[in-house]
């Protein structure tokens, strides 16, 4: 166990750095730039039952210190992920991977979770009940404690891997939703997904994003994410994976002090494909600077009392 290692639901990670779903594909693009085995793990592209194209383009808009995406869960469908993507991934990544699973009905979530559970390389399941870019599904389950509980209750019995539920920040009370997931047996909570936002093009005077709204991410959302991680980590006993605007080693430490057991890095990967590698390399130096001996000791260090 090194200085950077952490435990996530019973599996040891070499370090807490996890590229977030939707910003890392299935890993190969990044494997061209660095050996992705240096990562703690990564969360692969949100996968649904059927092949999905997602939303019409443009589906990207730039913002100050961030961006909006309205991709809408484009993915090849779970069967192709299992038959094509995972065997390909195995060639460049030999650690357990986090499987991000989406769905449009309780039945679909259950079926997808049961299927992906059978895959040897899957270490954790990250249940995405929080995508802001799909209508009539996905996010609706995450915006209400009752429906979030309903999905977790349905999938938990078929999840043969630790079940981490990914929550949306676009709610009034994220703590009650996290607690509802915990009560139904979730093994962990990850947060936050993107914040609903929009931009208008001054030249055309119309929304930049064809779908009008999309999910805002990037360094600009870090303080909001940190606050929510702090609130949720204070309220639940299961591990919390913190994410939202993390782009440097200092942010990882701050997230962990707020209560995160591990930290996902999203949008930073899109701007700098080496972002996670840099963070992992910088962590020991920043830990020295702030006199942190072992990273796993600091989780929740900012709590009162």
């Amino acid at each position: 166990m090194g200085r950077l290692s952490v435990d996530l639901c019973g599996i040891t990670l070499d370090n807490p750095v996890i590229p977030a779903s939707g910003t890392f594909g299935f890993g190969y693009e990044f494997a061209e730039i660095y050996d992705i085995n240096v990562l703690g793990t990564f969360s692969f592209k949100g996968t649904t039952k059927e092949l999905r194209f997602g939303n019409p383009t443009p589906r990207i808009a730039e913002c100050t210190s961030g961006m909006i995406n309205a991709v809408g869960l484009q993915n090849p469908g779970i069967d192709k992920v299992i038959s094509e993507e995972l065997p390909k991934l195995k060639k460049c990544f030999d650690k357990p991977v986090m499987a991000n699973i989406g769905g449009f009905s309780v039945e679909e979530y259950k079926e997808n979770v049961a299927k992906i559970s059978e895959e040897e390389q899957v270490g954790w399941i990250e249940l995405n009940i929080s995508c802001p870019n799909v209508h009539s599904g996905g996010v609706n389950f995450g915006t209400d404690a009752k429906s979030a509980a309903e999905v977790v209750r349905a999938v938990k019995p078929v999840a043969k891997k630790p079940l981490i539920v990914k929550l949306t920040p676009n709610v009034t009370d994220i703590v009650s939703i996290a607690k509802a997931c915990e009560a139904e047996g979730a093994d962990g909570i990850s947060l936050i997904n993107t914040l609903l936002g929009m931009r208008i093009d001054l030249k055309t005077k119309k929304p930049v994003i064809k779908n009008v709204m999309g999910g805002f991410s990037g360094p600009a959302i870090f303080p909001v994410a940190l606050r929510m991680v702090y609130q949720v980590a204070n309220a639940v006993k299961i591990p919390v994976v913190g994410m939202g605007g993390v782009s440097k080693a200092q942010d990882v430490i701050e997230m962990m002090l707020a209560g995160a057991a591990a930290v996902e890095v999203g949008t930073a990967n899109l701007v700098n494909p080496r972002a996670c590698l840099n963070i992992i390399n910088d962590l020991p130096l920043v830990m020295d600077e702030y006199k942190i001996e072992k990273l796993s000791d600091i989780t929740g260090g900012a709590f009162n009392g």
Binding site: G25, F53, G54, T57, I60, N69
Partner: protein
Amino acid sequence: MKQTSFKVLSNEKIAQNVYKMVLTGDTSAITSPGQFVNLLVDSCFLRRPISVCDVNDSELTLVYKVVGAGTKLMSKASAGDEFDTLTGLGNGYDLTKSGKTPLLLGGGVGVPPLYMLAKKLINEGKKVSVVLGFNTKSEVFYEDEFRALGSDVTVATADGSYGVKGFVTDALPDDYSYFYTCGPEPMLRAVFRTTSTSGQFSFEERMGCGFGACMGCSCKTVTGYKRICKEGPVLEKEEILWED
């Protein structure tokens, strides 16, 4: 794909709102015309994807139009400035399909990638015809450069202030073996309708990452979903599905 730093050697205005930037750095990942690079511009959050106009062992030439905040900042760069750059992005033009007399059709800021393409085709002994379209005379660039390569050049301007009056599709030669095109979408649609042979089109889309990770720039094609930044930006005529 490679991520390296490129240093500006020169950056000059060559037409209305159009600049030519020459940079030095590791160009080894750039393998075919039609590929692009993605530049990190200080104070912009996302990178700026710019098509490769020309490249040699150590120098990269970019010709870009100032269209927004990022390209405006690029236009202010001077010799010695550095850009963190992703190179070797995208799937470029396939030269093997050109036949003996290929036609290159460029519109506005779609002209630059055709320069490297023309150079390579001419090096292979092909007889290259080029039609360059612009809005107006003050926007015309690279006419002489294409001519210096040994290609047959026709310029069209929409307002008739220079060359043939009209669009590139108003200046098509009668006979060509294949075509390659890059330009604004209305022009690409017109080229699709007007051309008599097969060909390749280079597309633009708003990108998040530029290297295939975010799925921001996907499009539907006859052969499935493609990412403009990864399987594109060049698509073959037969696989294009135009969306309304």
